[in-house]
Symmetry: C2
Subunit: 130 residues, 2 copies
């Protein structure tokens, strides 16, 4: 398979592309992250979402610690070819490191950010290291 | 109203925040853009989405030329406080400058980006200048 589809993406100067992940069934927007070329190639090859962690400066196989992997059902590209939209099956139903379904658990109400989504699983249990 | 809610956002070095806009009723992800402080303040004040155009280096009142404005129903913030998710009513049902419902009209299929969404209105008609 040629890599034309990778070359069509307009990567940032840092070689990244922003990625929106939504849940395939519900359509819920789960999270926002970044990919580099290698992350996207691995995502397509393995069928599981692999991102680029800007804070850690390395590939981030989503769920590698938590088990909350994402099975990729669809990958879409926007009109400017510089943003990706993934439809994923979210294993465990938890995409956020806070133990919530979605990372977008705060809503602006009367000038305040109000949390309106429950913690499904305590992060200490998710990231427990023996 | 204090501006604490604006200060809680972790703006980029350029003073921007990435924004995902989805359609309130359908949940469809329509587009991805950026806001600066002023754009977000205006969005909240007017109830209509105002973005920051990085290419033009100025405020972009979505729909100012096309008429395809976005009435903002909800604004959400993610766990890291550095991404916004808007739920909007998309006037005209067209968010994309190509005349399509959503900007994410291309899907990866067998190593190719395949367009699978129709042009609802010809861009030449949308952006006609007398």
């Amino acid at each position: 398979m040629t890599e034309n589809w990778l070359n069509e993406i307009r990567w940032t100067e840092d070689g990244l592309v922003p990625v929106i992940a939504r849940e395939a069934g519900s359509g819920d927007v789960l999270m926002f992250a970044w990919m580099n070329r290698e992350a996207l190639r691995l995502t397509v090859e393995t069928g599981h979402a692999v991102y680029w962690s800007r804070s850690r400066g390395k590939l981030w196989r989503k769920g590698e610690e938590s088990g909350h992997t994402q099975i990729v059902k669809e990958i879409r590209l926007d009109c400017d070819a510089d943003v990706l939209l993934l439809s994923v099956e979210q294993i465990g139903g938890i995409a956020c490191h806070t133990g919530r379904h979605s990372c977008f658990f705060r809503k602006l109400e009367n000038g305040q950010w109000v949390t309106d989504a429950p913690v499904i699983k305590n992060p200490e249990e998710i990231y427990r290291h023996e």
